[in-house]
């Protein structure tokens, strides 16, 4: 078994999760507390990857990033970035594809905190910034953990989007899920099984650890 696709999957999932966390925090905060009327539209757009077939999303991203089209051309000429059939392209696509998996748990976590926590911090002279980092986030550990893990696991499991936008270039875009598909197509069931088993075990371990930690966090907050 060539470990390269597994390694690529790990890199993709880690990078996607980290970047998405930074992007999603302010968005989740805004969605949790804003009274902006167009909020539902924004929420619907973010939620699209949940219901859309991955191939549809991949197809449109492929069109958008294609160097023969305006946006792709602009990316290449100004930023020197080619997002089709490249690793950066995979990262960008994964970020869009996994957006709801990061934002929704964070948003729900923030919304579940009593409003009085935020208001108490304000009346104690603390800015919205300080309140967010010192009061709201430390009390959303469980939501943060869930968001990180769901995003990571979802990115590991990506197939349609990755295949559409990245293709199947060894060492560049051939992630584990694509490698499994290749091996099955070539009737190498043993190799496919090895990749599949690694993904299966790793995913199971991650989720077990997360649920253990989460249960412990909940017990600290609500002692029996």
């Amino acid at each position: 078994m060539d470990p390269e696709p597994l390694w690529l999957t790990l890199r993709l999932a880690t990078l996607t999760t980290l970047i998405l966390f930074v992007i999603a925090l302010p968005m989740a905060y805004w969605l949790a507390y804003s009274r902006f009327k167009g909020r539902s539209v924004v929420e619907a757009i973010i939620g699209m990857p949940l219901v859309l077939p991955p191939s549809v999303l991949g197809f449109y991203l492929l069109l958008a990033f294609s160097p023969s089209r305006a946006f792709g051309q602009w990316l290449e000429s100004t930023l020197g970035l080619r997002l089709v059939f490249s690793f950066p392209g995979l990262v960008v696509a994964s970020i869009i594809y996994s957006l709801p998996f990061m934002i929704y748990p964070l948003q729900a976590g923030l919304q579940s905190l009593p409003a009085s926590l935020r208001e108490a911090s304000y009346t104690l002279g603390k800015s919205a910034w300080t309140t967010f980092f010192k009061v709201l986030l430390p009390n959303s550990k469980s939501a943060i953990l869930t968001a990180l893990v769901l995003t990571f696991a979802h990115t590991v499991g990506e197939f349609g989007v990755v295949l559409m936008i990245g293709g199947n270039i060894p060492g560049v875009t051939k992630v584990a899920s694509v490698a499994i598909y290749n091996e099955v197509e070539a009737l190498n069931y043993d190799a496919a099984n090895q990749y599949a088993l690694v993904l299966f075990v790793v995913t199971f371990l991650i989720l077990s650890i997360i649920y253990t930690i989460n249960n412990r966090l909940l017990r600290v907050r609500h002692p029996a």
Binding site: E119, A120, T123, L124
Partner: protein
């Protein structure tokens, strides 16, 4: 003592269980005064506190503390809650669960503020021993004291309390009231508290403002508000709560809690519809018959 009055004059529409009501409140709170806000739920008491704290902007109106304008909708002034010398004790206490008692207090320190105040307040509310505990490990009364101490760290000039003792038992309430009076005497802040508890009003408040449907129905000293018949005001007046009601010999036999003791009252049967367990009343002693005045 601070000699600054607080002037409130606001209009705000309020959605309640009974529908939208329009709030219209004009109220002047005197320097150093303890004002109780009372009235049925949904009357706008908490909303009024939140407007004073700057947590809500009223639809129109003015909140002025001496010469400082805190809220002025005509001049587009809305001073942020952070910049008002206000302490707020929330009904649910709003303690930060991830911080210890001491850290909850220290969180409130302004930059460069002397940390000595934290220990001073911990001593004042008798929580020095529990300073290292997290809020979840404390009893309701202890949490209440943490919330109170935390609200005082920045030495507010106006302390707002939203039904701070609703969740405490009777004896704990008594001790908290003593503590509040002590702290009020020591730090001399103005105090506005939302409360339904008559005993609390009589012990703490200089004046009571009764809100009904978003308007001030009555303002005055507790004695003025709760003794409708001024001619009888010199007769002894006792506050009580109905525990149970029975009918015997065409009379109502009412067991009531009066001055921490269970008493039996014999009253005319005509009062039966009003006298249900849990109701509060004022009892007047007169030579002929006891007189009952119901309070909602």
């Amino acid at each position: 003592m601070s000699d600054t009055p607080l002037d409130i004059s606001i209009r705000h529409s309020l959605s309640t269980a009974q529908g939208v009501i329009s709030m219209e409140v004009a109220l002047a709170v005197k320097p150093g005064e303890i004002l109780a806000l009372t009235g049925p739920s949904g009357a706008g008491k908490t909303t009024l506190l939140r407007i004073v704290a700057g947590l809500i902007q009223p639809q129109s109106g003015l909140v002025r503390y001496g010469s400082e304008v805190w809220t002025d909708t005509t001049g587009q002034v809305l001073r942020a809650p952070q910049r008002r010398p206000v302490g707020f004790v929330f009904q649910d206490y709003a303690l930060f669960p991830h911080l210890t008692v001491r850290q909850n207090l220290a969180f409130a320190l302004d930059r460069g503020q002397d940390e000595g105040i934290v220990d001073e307040l911990l001593r004042a509310v008798e929580l020095t021993e529990l300073a290292g505990q997290k809020p979840a490990q404390l009893s309701g009364g202890q949490q209440q004291r943490v919330a109170l101490a935390r609200a005082l760290v920045r030495k507010p000039q106006v302390l707002l309390l939203d039904e701070p003792m609703a969740a405490l038992d009777r004896s704990m309430r008594y001790r908290m009231q003593d503590l509040l009076l002590d702290l009020h005497w020591q730090y001399r802040f103005m105090m506005i508290l939302v409360t339904h508890d008559l005993a609390e009003i009589f012990r703490l408040a200089d004046r009571v403002a009764r809100l009904e449907d978003g308007r001030i129905a009555q303002v005055g000293s507790p004695g003025e508000i709760y003794t409708h018949n001024q001619d009888l005001s010199e007769e002894p007046l006792l506050y009580g709560e109905v525990l149970s009601v029975e009918v015997a010999d065409d009379q109502l036999v009412v067991l009531a809690l009066i001055q921490q003791q269970v008493r039996r009252l014999r009253l005319p049967q005509a009062l039966a519809p009003q006298l249900t367990p849990g109701r509060s009343f004022l009892l007047r002693y007169s030579l002929e018959t006891p007189m009952i005045e119901l309070i909602d």
